[in-house]
């Protein structure tokens, strides 16, 4: 009955029901939908703003920032990337959980909201200022009072901040800078900020300010050890790599020490999708890393031994694809695009032959311009030596023949011989480096050689790089000598030989080498290798990389879409490079800027050079050892005085005083001043600061850190930073008195502690760097400013846009440095309005400086080996006039030097059109001063507009001008590269509307556009543009004397350092008990739950794993010291100590421990029993050891340029003890 009643009540007769669908489960009707408002309200927002995330993530993903009532509520991925066309997966969506947690920082309790000053410093300042009206004198009084200075220095890292007004901090900073300029010189003011691509305007803000005032910008890429020195060594170009979509084009893809799914999260899909496209993926990794899971094959190569595996693979490829079955594609590629056919002289020394340098036109007595720099091949058509187009001499001889056409200067085609094996005048037994552990003599291997007659009528013996390479790699071709008999002979460099070193099965190594080459032969070069930190963060990173890159060069895969190297660590690509470079270093007002190599700077500033351990002796290298046995500090002084490397601070004397002294001595013109100072330098009257770095006059004094966490992330030798540079509580456990000391550097008895007078950190969050700073400035977040971001992972340029105004008292980096510049100029107008400065710079790459020192022979003027000549055998010296009173005006306008020319990588264009175009976009400056009427750069947005307008990749007019300029140098038609896009000119607004594809411009070597993915050196291959190297081709052989002295003329394997955790002279003390400890190789790979230290402190990331500091260990090692997963451990060696929890995993091989990079010390760290103080960061057990070969300069591609070449601050050649932490003390009482 009840059922009936209910049924009746549900039925309708006059009314009509909606249509029923889904088998009657759904009904269409017009009921009110108010209930949905709950969900609508949840996701409601007023507006969406396009922005992205800045340093240190190189992903450069476009994000939607949702704003409601002025509050950033969340962020989601943008999905409107332009399509790449058919048959390629798309880029969107890009973004990972790290980026998705960013908005937390805006409102987080840990945000730096106000300017902060160390309390001790502020009280002292205020006290002195009460009676001292002159702020410069006030600063001098403050830092001259030893007790006062020590009081705030020793408080670094221990809290004690107070808030201050922007005006107050600007005054202190300006006074410190101006007094430092006056007392010691502008070069004692230095700045550090990394990865400009990931917020170009913000980087440029500080670097422009510092460069204009004459301060030193310290490089980051080499310092991070992310810079692969192999890249300039081989190509004369730094880190030009394919965009991630090009992985999809590969037929065979080896991933070698770069954790793509983990650290390249938004890009990894191309690798996975490639597999559906038939790509075979091979993983090479010591541990069971994330990427190994996606690989078809895993080669578990022991940490640091990768070069051995690569050498054996190259051995297989040479044997099978060059000798046994010559592959026409490979041979043709080798002749056209590599140095393999070029002739190398053989030199007889102590009865043995050894390879020396490239033969050149001068040797042959040819009467051609720049003959020393024109390298030679053997022409099989004429049976004589010829100098083909494209070598470095052609770049600078004004003959418009700097191209890769195989022609002689008369235009006659050349057929270069790869080998003399069929046409040798003789077979010579040559000494080749033997760097195997325990070897006592070089290899003696025969190779075919020919005779040539030099200009003096003497006989010279030569061979080809190819023949030398064959002998070096152990491919006998029937020739006598120390050659291995077959693959199973355990002699360098066979598959069996590598198996003993790397642990990789020889058959697996042979298989992968064969497949890699076979694929390249069939696809004409679509074999690719991605490599990164795992293979690059080593002392011998260059050898590892050169050995691996051998494989792509030998298989004709470089400069081919879907092939070549793909280096992904710390990589960045400031696509709009020309404009950025001009702005960032103030090149529109003053040239040259002071740019320093980071590793060299910190090696001395933190006194790590005084804790050095002796270099390993290498009896297997057939040279004297003059360079390889030298202390790195001695190599640095050599590199400084020969103009190879920059060297700041410059001299013990203030560079302003040096100019004044020259004028007093009667010098009038700039040239007279330069000659006078050169004379003082050569006579020894004027001392290089690098030769006396621990003299207080040579300390860096004021240091800026922004967009960076130097002390919590990249500061290799963390404890040395704290102890010596900062004067804070650093716990170095090594003994400097028993360490190896340099000969040409003064080392006073006491090592200084507390070199910096003022450390300024600018950030939106409190990092380890902030903890140790004297002044912390509140920076705007990435959702509160205008900026630009680009990357080499994809071809788009992204904007940052303010979703909300900067909160609390924060300012965008541009506005913050502008505020400092205003204060600086105001103060300078009264106390130091103008100065004349003499700037010392090294012989620069892409300038005539790269042909300064011919033949790669080291000639030291101090030893009387050559004449001291400025800009040739010594550094450049340039007189620079600085208008401090108008620095603010210069900083905020585009200066007149931009009209004269914009020069990037040696490509010069006239700047007038660019400046006029910019003026239309940003208007002119109305402020009084030298910049009046010039384009205004007052806001960050205007600066971004300037960067876009002045650069080829974002402005087709510039791209066209650049291609035309390069056409002139090369004599080849090139403008087709930009055809159809020459009128595309992006404005900031265009990028905000939708991501845009970068335009092909010759400052980058890849061709790109719709339908073509960016791959490096495709322009070189397609258009016959030379590489910027000695031969103009890709180099296997590096003939510089220092290279040969290290035994590294050709790629070779050297094992990682196995120095024990403590050196024999160290006194570790009772607390360093190792009765229950293991020694492990300590690695610091990049992590999953942060980008360096960024994001790793957000609650979301902390909860995704264990939070706080952890160290990964193997099951075996954990068992050996009796610990279980999550137990506390102590990691220590002579460099310092770390306390962390252990993650015990089958993933890690025995003898290796991994601490993910940059787990900041701001997150709970208990006491270390070794040091008695709180444990340090992941870098507390590392120390830098600069490598001499990275310091070579003035020689073709081995010439300095910032973030291009320089010693790397590697950190993996480190062994440490690990023991259980008996007692966990949080030091909270």
């Amino acid at each position: 009955m009840a059922n009936k009643r209910n049924a009746l009540l549900r039925s309708v007769d006059y009314l009509k029901r909606g249509r029923r669908i889904n088998q009657g489960w759904s009904e269409e009707n017009g009921r009110a939908r108010d209930w949905e408002d709950v969900y609508r309200g949840r996701w409601q927002h007023d507006r969406v703003v396009r922005s992205t995330h800045g340093v240190n993530c190189t992903g450069s993903c476009s994000w939607k920032i949702h704003v409601k009532n002025g509050i950033v509520t969340w962020e989601t991925q943008q999905t409107d990337y332009p399509s790449l066309g058919e048959n390629v997966p798309e880029y969107e969506p890009r973004g990972c959980p790290r980026g998705a947690s960013y908005s937390w920082y805006l409102y987080s309790p840990g945000r730096v909201k106000y300017p902060y000053v160390r309390g001790e410093l502020l009280s002292a300042w205020k006290q002195i200022r009460e009676h001292e009206e002159n702020p410069l004198k006030a600063w001098r009084a403050l830092v001259s009072d030893a007790a006062q200075r020590q009081a705030y220095q020793s408080a670094r890292g221990k809290g004690g901040f107070v808030r201050a007004e922007w005006d107050t901090v600007s005054e202190i900073i300006s006074a410190a800078m101006l007094d430092t300029v006056q007392t010691y010189g502008p070069d004692r003011v230095a700045g550090f900020s990394p990865i400009p691509a990931m917020s170009q305007v913000s980087f440029a803000a500080g670097s422009r300010f510092i460069s204009l005032m004459g301060g030193t910008m310290v490089s980051f890429y080499d310092w991070y050890a992310d810079l692969p020195p192999a890249s300039p060594q081989i190509w004369g170009e730094q880190t030009d790599v394919p965009e991630s979509a090009d992985w999809y084009n590969a037929g065979y893809f080896i991933i070698w020490g770069t954790n793509l799914p983990m650290t390249r999260t938004p890009d990894a899909h191309f690798m996975v999708e490639g597999r559906y496209n038939g790509t075979k993926v091979v993983g090479v990794s010591p541990d069971y890393a994330e990427y190994v899971k996606f690989a078809d094959l895993w080669l578990p190569c022991k940490a640091g031994t990768d070069a051995a595996l690569a050498m054996a693979m190259a051995h297989v490829i040479l044997k099978e694809f060059y000798v046994d079955n010559p592959t026409p594609y490979f041979l043709d590629y080798a002749k056209n695009y590599t140095d393999l056919p070029f002739l190398v002289t053989l030199k007889q020394q102590d009865g043995h032959w050894r390879a020396d340098r490239f033969l050149n036109a001068n040797d042959l007595g040819l009467n051609v311009p720049q003959a020393d720099w024109k390298t030679v091949v053997w022409d099989t058509t004429t049976g004589s030596p010829e100098i083909p187009n494209g070598s470095l001499g052609y770049r600078w001889d004004g003959q418009h023949k700097w191209n890769l056409r195989l022609e002689n200067p008369e235009g006659t085609p050349i057929q270069p011989a790869l080998s003399f094996i069929e046409a040798a005048d003789s077979v010579l037994s040559v000494s080749l480096p033997n760097l195997q552990t325990g070897s006592s003599r070089p290899f003696a291997r025969s190779l075919p050689a020919r005779r040539v007659t030099n200009s003096l009528g003497e006989t010279m013996w030569v061979t080809t790089v190819y023949d030398l390479m064959m002998a070096h790699m152990g491919i006998s071709r029937g020739l006598p000598g120390d050659y291995p008999t077959d693959y199973d002979d355990v002699t360098a460099y066979t598959p069996a030989w590598q198996e003993a070193i790397t642990g990789v099965d020889r058959n697996l190594a042979i298989q992968v080498a064969r497949e890699f080459a076979d694929n390249a032969a069939k696809t004409r070069g679509r074999s690719m290798i991605a490599l990164g930190a795992g293979t690059n963060h080593w002392y011998h990173s260059d050898l590892i990389y050169r050995s691996i890159i051998n494989l792509v060069l030998l298989t004709g895969s470089q400069g081919i879409n879907g092939g070549g190297w793909a280096h992904y660590v710390g990589q960045e690509k400031v696509r709009p490079l020309e404009g950025w470079n001009t702005l960032a270093f103030g090149l529109d007002w003053n040239r040259p800027p002071r740019q320093h190599a980071g590793t060299s700077f910190f090696y001395f500033a933190t006194d790590q050079f005084r804790y050095e351990e002796p270099a390993l002796k290498l009896p297997g290298v057939p040279t004297s050892g003059r360079f390889r046995d030298a202390h790195p500090a001695d190599m640095t002084t050599l590199a400084s005085r020969l103009g190879w490397l920059p060297s700041f601070p410059q001299w013990t004397e203030n560079s302003l005083a040096v100019v004044a002294e020259a004028r007093n001595a009667g010098c009038g013109s700039a040239d007279e001043i330069v000659q006078h100072v050169a004379q003082r330098l050569t006579s020894g009257d004027l001392e290089w600061a690098v030769e006396n770095p621990d003299d207080p006059r040579n300390f860096p004094r004021v240091f800026f850190i922004w967009r960076s966490n130097l002390l919590g992330a990249s500061g290799k030798g963390h404890e040395y930073f704290l102890k010596h540079m900062l004067g804070a509580a650093g716990h170095v456990l090594g003994n400097p008195d028993e360490s190896w000391q340099p000969e040409t550097v003064k080392t006073p008895g006491t090592i200084p502690e507390g070199k910096l007078d003022l450390l300024v950190d600018m950030d939106f969050r409190m990092t380890s760097s902030g903890l140790y700073a004297d002044i912390v400035l509140p920076a705007a977040t990435w959702y509160e400013k205008h900026d630009l971001s680009s990357t080499d992972m994809h071809p788009f340029v992204h904007p940052f846009n303010p979703a909300v105004a900067p909160l609390w008292e924060s300012k965008s980096d541009w506005d913050a440095f502008r505020t400092l510049a205003e204060a600086f100029s105001r103060m300078a107008a009264r106390y130091l309005p103008v100065v004349d400065d003499l700037v010392m710079t090294p012989l620069q790459h892409d300038s005539p400086g790269e042909i300064a020192q011919p033949h790669g022979h080291v000639r030291d003027w101090r030893q009387g080996e050559c004449e001291p000549v400025v800009g040739k055998t010594m550094p450049n010296l340039t007189l620079v006039h600085r208008d401090y009173a108008h620095l603010i005006n210069q900083m905020t306008t585009l200066g007149p030097l931009a009209d004269e020319g914009i020069v990037t990588k040696g490509i010069r264009i006239d700047g007038h059109a660019a400046v006029a175009e910019l003026m239309e976009r940003v208007g002119s400056s109305k402020w009084e001063g030298p910049g009046r009427g010039r384009p205004s750069l007052w806001t960050g947005r205007q600066a971004a507009e300037a960067i876009l307008t002045l650069s080829g990749p974002t402005n087709g007019h510039r791209a066209m001008e650049e291609w035309q300029s390069l056409e002139n140098t090369t004599g080849v038609p090139l403008t087709a590269a930009i055809h159809g896009r020459e009128d595309t000119a992006y404005r900031f607004e265009d990028l905000t509307i939708q991501p845009r594809l970068a335009l092909p411009a010759p400052v980058w070597s890849g061709l790109e556009g719709e339908g073509r993915r960016y791959s490096p050196f495709t322009a070189n291959v397609d258009f016959k543009i030379p590489w910027r190297t000695i031969t103009g081709r890709q180099h296997f052989y590096l003939d510089h004397e220092v290279m040969l002295d290290y035994g590294e003329g050709l790629p070779i394997y050297r094992p990682p350092s196995d120095n024990p955790p403590f050196a024999s002279g160290d006194e570790a003390g009772d607390t360093a008990d190792v009765s229950q400890a293991v020694t492990v190789r300590y690695l610091t790979p990049h992590q999953k739950w942060g980008i360096h230290s960024t994001y790793s402190d957000t609650p979301r990331m902390l909860t995704l794993f264990r939070g706080g500091q952890t160290v990964w260990m193997s099951m075996e090692d954990a068992k050996a010291i009796g610990i279980e997963d999550n137990d506390w451990i102590e990691v220590f060696n002579r460099n310092g100590a770390i306390v962390a929890r252990a993650v015990i995993s089958h993933r890690i091989p025995k003898g290796v421990a991994m601490m993910y990079h940059a787990q900041d010390r701001t997150i709970g760290v208990p006491k270390s029993l070794v040091t008695g103080d709180r444990g340090g960061t992941h870098n507390s057990v590392t120390r830098i050891i600069p490598k001499g070969t990275h310091m070579i300069g003035g020689y073709g591609q081995l010439s300095y340029s910032m973030n291009y070449y320089g010693p790397t601050g590697h950190q993996r050649d480190v062994l440490t003890w690990i023991r259980p932490l008996k007692e966990v003390d949080w030091l909270e009482d």
């Binding site: 947690s101 409102y107 987080s108 809290g159 901040f161 201050a164 609390w808 909860t1103």
Partner: protein, 188 residues
């Protein structure tokens, strides 16, 4: 809410201001007798603050409230931590201020404790929705600061004035991060 209680809230809000500006010290002296009159403990804190060397007081303040998340003076940071809901909560507080006829200054967030204390003092209608939240947060900070901290009495006073929360003290997300409403459930 009685005028006396509103006065206490207003005075506490003033005392919780950053002690680095001249305005703070002027106000401190101006309100000294008022504070003494309102509550002896307020008077005592007011005097104690004046006795500390200013720079030391600034250091103490920064260490307690700027760089220690557990002492953060932002209410929703305690309540919601990293949760996406914090944005919504801030918006609601902004709207509450607007309902009372006030704006939140551009350089400050709507959940700033002194701002909310002042709001309750000048707009008692807001007390009903805020009292328990503010009191609970004050209790947590008081406990974290410990019994001898110079600023401790101010937080005790807030609690007394607003009443201690009835429900058992809700743990903060700082202490129990897995309470944050993550986009997926954490299962043990």
């Amino acid at each position: 809410m009685r005028d006396q209680e509103r006065l206490v809230l207003k005075l506490v809000a003033g005392l919780l201001d950053y002690p680095g500006h001249p305005a703070f010290w002027m106000r401190l002296r101006e309100h000294a007798s008022l504070a003494e009159e309102a509550d002896a403990r307020l008077g005592a804190v007011s005097k104690a603050l004046q006795r500390v060397v200013p720079i030391e007081l600034e250091k103490l303040y920064v260490a307690a409230f700027d760089f220690d998340p557990k002492g953060s003076l932002y209410v929703t940071a305690h309540e919601l931590g990293d949760s996406r809901d914090r944005g919504q909560a801030l918006i609601e507080l902004t709207e509450l201020c607007q309902k009372a006829g006030y704006d939140v200054p551009d350089d400050q967030l709507a959940d700033y404790l002194p701002l909310l204390l002042e709001l309750m003092a000048v707009y008692p209608d807001s007390v009903a929705s805020l009292a328990e939240r503010v009191s609970s947060m004050a209790g947590r900070i008081a406990e974290h600061l410990g019994p001898d901290h110079l600023y401790r009495p101010l937080f005790d006073l807030i609690q007394e004035t607003l009443g201690r929360p009835n429900a058992a003290d809700v743990p903060s997300v700082e202490e129990h991060p897995d309470l944050v409403d993550l986009p997926y459930p954490i299962e043990y």
